[in-house]
């Protein structure tokens, strides 16, 4: 898909069902973010989500490129990643309300979604800390002789963290099946990439570790899907790790309630032109892949799913106070004494 919404006829694209699903999770991420922010503003949620806006195409591409047995580690900006693993929005939102129906029984909260069955192994609130763990998951897959790949998603700012670089080196040294997916939205909270990195070309920096490393237009879900698909196939077949820098832009504040008046207007306006979901819609329709009627149907389904998810979450009971001491240790007993 080019900037004008065209894709080269010769280039591979996912199946029609997959394309529809991609479009729907892009919309669902946006709907979830927006509703959560509104709920937080009303004081009904203790914290807003960290919006995915701008990254939806990357998340959707991951959803199709990753296989069922692949595993993922994500961050606090995890809604799109979680949806890409097929995790129902209702359990994600229930977690945001701190309810028993959430992915982590309300104990983790918005930053800590877990769904091992669907391969979302952990999501971390500590910037950059997912990368070393992805090395370990990659090691486990390699030792198992399994054909699964590991994806770790993280922001551009996370590449400042020292242990990220330790992880790049180790993954390359041990030839591990890890795909490092950098969701470069050009910002780490209030600081733009250009003012925190002397060399802002992250893929170039990582290439020096001796692993495949490339930039891709993260606003282009098809190009992103092709790149990730290749990197994942390579990882699964013993070809080693890759770093994929998905270039996008943060279309909102850092969190759903944050002020972002500091973002230069012209930059934001240019990025909004590339807003992935509407562009994908235009392309799906103009290329004849999905007709207007079906697109409208998907949009209505997304709204219904979002409504249902919030209703489910609000009705889900809170954890009983006694559950505080559960899940600290395997035995479930009230440690530290026996």
């Amino acid at each position: 898909m080019q900037e004008n919404g065209e894709t080269q006829a010769t280039e591979a694209i996912p199946s029609r069902e997959e394309l529809e699903w991609m479009y729907s999770i892009m919309l669902l991420a946006k709907a979830g973010d927006e509703r959560a922010a509104a709920e937080a503003r009303e004081g009904r949620l203790q914290a807003a989500l960290y919006p995915v806006r701008g990254l939806e195409g990357v998340c959707a591409a991951l959803g199709v490129a990753m296989q069922a047995n692949d595993q993922m580690i994500s961050s606090y900006r995890n809604l799109g990643d979680a949806l890409s693993r097929g995790i129902p929005l209702r359990t994600i939102i229930a977690e945001a309300y701190g309810r028993l129906g959430g992915t982590s029984k309300g104990k983790g909260g918005t930053m800590h979604l877990t769904d091992n069955e669907r391969g979302l192994v952990t999501t971390t609130g500590v910037v950059g800390s997912g990368l070393p763990m992805a090395v370990g998951l990659g090691l486990a897959a390699q030792l198992d002789g399994a054909d699964r790949a590991i994806v770790v998603t993280f922001g551009d700012g996370s590449t400042s963290i020292g242990s990220a670089h330790e992880a790049f080196n180790l993954a390359a040294l041990w030839n591990l099946p890890v795909v490092f997916v950098c969701q470069n939205n050009q910002w780490g909270e209030h600081t733009p990439l250009s003012s925190y990195a002397a060399n802002p070309n992250l893929a170039e920096r990582v290439a020096s570790y001796g692993m495949a490393s490339e930039q891709v237009d993260g606003f282009d879900p098809m190009a992103t899907w092709r790149t990730l698909d290749r990197a994942l196939a390579k990882a699964r077949s013993g070809g080693g790790p890759s770093f994929v820098e998905c270039l996008t832009y943060r279309l909102t504040g850092h969190s759903g309630l944050s002020d972002y008046s500091y973002v230069p207007e012209a930059e934001l306006a240019a990025a909004l032109e590339r807003d992935p979901a509407p562009n994908m819609r235009r392309w799906l329709e103009s290329s004849g892949l999905v007709d207007a009627g079906r697109l409208a149907e998907i949009e209505a389904e997304v709204e219904a799913t979002a409504d249902e998810a919030f209703a489910f979450a609000q009705e889900s009971p809170p954890p009983h106070p006694d559950e505080l001491t559960d899940d600290v240790y395997a035995s479930g007993e009230g440690i530290p004494f026996r």
């Binding site: 982590s104 309300g106 104990k107 930053m111 800590h112 500590v126």
Partner: protein
């Protein structure tokens, strides 16, 4: 600059005022941290205006590099500066532990006294609103590390006076703030320079029946509990203000009088500061106590996101603990 001129300040404003005074007094005071430069001036706005006033050479925004924020502060301190490093959430001090524990804390000792690391690391206890990785109170780790000083103020006046003392102290200081108090407990604060010595507790309220020893955000929980028990018992409340050095003298004087004491804090009770403080009191006053020194700290769990799963001492828990403590028959009398 005189102590007479005061202004109503939040804790964040008091931090800002202390940093402003320090930067103005001594050009060797420098700051580093994520997003601390203007226009944002820190995610909690504690450094707002300072990079504009003193220059980005001295008030430096860094990438997300906790280990090197603290490490470079250690190095700059060795190089003759008085750095103040800002780490947003205390949980992220984990990233910088090597620099704090293996270097900042021990350099004087390992060098036979030749090296001085006059460093302040500011960090804040977060909130369960953000889950288990943004809410820990980890002061016990630092108390357990010889070479560090540990400061945990509860109000704007102490915040400013203690921060200024910390900055001009020749030892590394871990200065711990609390997100919940950042804007919620305003108080009158001198606009100029004043210092509160490290290691002097404050007796916030005198009482006869029981002593509560606490610090940081729990001071407010304890004061509210004491207020609600005013018809039932007379509570003496001690705000330690600094944990290292620890003002044991003030604690012992108080407990000698009341013969009953409890230590209340937000960090995990097991192996928490209360364990040490209770033991120190018992060591000195064993025969004079009516009942063993009690503790009320966080449950032995990570901090949960759901509000129903409360691990910290709440006002209700403090009230219950105080009633139990005061109603307990005296061990001394049983003997």
């Amino acid at each position: 600059m005189s102590e007479e001129q005061t202004e109503k300040m939040t804790i964040v404003a008091a931090l800002n005022s202390a940093l402003d005074v320090a930067l103005g007094l001594d050009e060797r005071v420098i700051m580093m941290g994520e997003d601390i430069a203007d226009p944002i001036g820190g995610v909690m706005k504690a450094t707002k205006g300072l990079s504009t006033k003193y220059g980005e050479d001295r008030v430096r925004a860094t990438p997300i590099v906790e280990q090197t924020i603290v490490g470079s502060a250690v190095g700059a301190a060795m190089g003759g500066y008085r750095p103040v490093a800002e780490i947003m959430f205390m949980d992220f001090l984990c990233q910088a532990m090597d620099q704090i524990i293996n270097h900042a804390a021990k350099s004087r000792f390992m060098s036979g006294g030749h090296t001085t690391v006059p460093l302040v690391v500011r960090a804040m206890v977060g909130s369960s609103n953000f889950g288990a990785q943004h809410s820990q109170a980890l002061e016990a780790w630092f108390m357990h590390t010889p070479g560090l000083k540990v400061v945990m103020p509860s109000n704007p006046y102490d915040t400013k006076g203690l921060l200024l003392s910390s900055i001009f102290d020749d030892d590394p200081v871990i200065f711990i703030e609390n997100m919940a108090m950042s804007y919620s407990v305003p108080g009158m604060v001198p606009t100029g320079d004043y210092r509160i010595p490290l290691g002097e507790a404050a007796v916030l309220q005198e009482g006869e029946d029981v002593t509560v020893i606490t610090y940081g955000a729990e001071v407010h929980t304890v004061m509210a509990a004491a207020e609600s028990l005013v018809d039932e018992m007379s509570v003496e409340v001690i705000d330690l203000r600094t944990l290292v050095p620890l003002d044991l003298t003030t604690c012992l004087e108080s407990v000698t009088k009341t013969r009953r004491a409890i230590v209340v804090h937000g960090s995990t009770q097991f192996c928490g500061p209360g364990a040490e403080i209770a033991t120190l009191i018992t060591d000195e006053l064993f025969g004079a106590l009516d009942v063993p020194v009690a503790r009320l700290g966080g449950t032995y769990t990570p901090i949960a996101f759901a509000k129903e799963l409360e691990s910290l001492p709440t006002e209700d828990k403090v009230v219950a603990a105080l009633r139990e403590l005061v109603e307990r028959p005296s061990v001394a009398r049983q003997r």
